[in-house]
Subunit: 198 residues, 2 copies
């Protein structure tokens, strides 16, 4: 006998989370035992309601507790610009800036031939349907600056360009606050190519 069954089960649940091994899971489980009843009840309730109440917006694919999501329902948003991201977390990152006022489209993944993920495996079909008869004049590709992110961006731009839609992507360059000395070569090359006039 190592731990009483209820502790062992809780440790097992924690250890199923990403990046949490058996030692951390044990620490978290024991911490839970020392938490107030209220906090533990809230935790359990939040787990269940997050799973139960959340769904994906049928228009943009963003995670939401109402369909269509708050952003798609917001009439003050600019219908002419559509920003394409990999996940709902990226929508939040953009929204935090309080700068972008257009619409979103969430792909839920990136095209990744290495991992067997093709164009049909991500939320692309609804993007095409959505763009027909829409006012969108510019699509901003905000996928990650990784191999999969670039492949996905290239694929989407190849589909959309013939339709006469302006397709742009986020700038590549030095991260603000970063040191040229430590920048990798590819980033430095892009930063020189895309230099801007002062």
């Amino acid at each position: 006998m190592l731990y009483p069954t209820p502790v062992a089960k809780l440790i097992e649940s924690f250890s199923k989370l990403p990046g949490i091994g058996i030692k951390t899971a044990t620490r978290l489980a024991f911490h839970t035992l020392s938490m107030s009843d209220e906090d533990v009840n809230d935790f359990a309730k939040n787990l269940l309601s997050a799973k139960r109440e959340l769904t994906y917006c049928t228009i943009c694919g963003n995670l939401t507790d109402q369909d269509p999501c708050a952003i798609c329902q917001d009439e003050t948003r600019d219908d002419q610009v559509l920003l394409i991201v990999e996940s709902s977390k990226d929508v939040s990152a953009m929204e935090k800036l309080n700068e972008y006022r257009g619409r979103y489209h969430v792909l839920h993944g990136l095209i990744s031939p290495m991992n067997g993920v093709g164009p049909d495996d991500i939320n692309l079909k609804t993007l095409v349907t959505r763009l027909m008869d829409s006012e969108v004049s510019e699509v901003i590709l905000a996928t990650s600056a990784t191999a999969d992110g670039e492949a996905t961006a290239m694929y989407i731009s190849r589909i959309l360009k013939p339709a006469g839609i302006k397709v742009t992507r986020l700038a590549r360059g030095l991260a603000v606050g970063s040191d040229i000395e430590y920048a990798d070569e590819v980033t430095l090359l892009r930063a020189i190519e895309n230099r801007t006039e002062l």
Copy 2:
């Protein structure tokens, strides 16, 4: 609006756990959303039942789902040896060895003058009551080799020695597999002092 309320609440719950900041909490919350319904339900159930069904053994103070705990109830255990540890996790560490067959006493903390924790704040009173009229002939102090662990061990040994009970503590020395070059000075000194004959 950053995240729908159910996600925001779940992130908050995760971020209350020790060592989990807002970024990790967000990652864990989003992972939860992609888990199966069954796994999430189990997680919530395990949280609640761990909190509800677990209690501390009235004899040894160990975490248990039955009182007295399985170890205190086990009649094959040696009543003459009592091993004193800081927490239930230490009991598990000892039990994993499958070597020790005596009884335990869990302190739930260590005497720590720096943090205002005195002898009355840990599970010591029941230890003294327990030792009266008991068959215990040896008490093994297995508190950590830290300042607080040593202080607690010294305090307990000073109480028990006048009662004629043999008090021992775990050996200090080089960790097995460790390099003398990297051993700290105090450990090396203890290792020389406590050298054993081959």
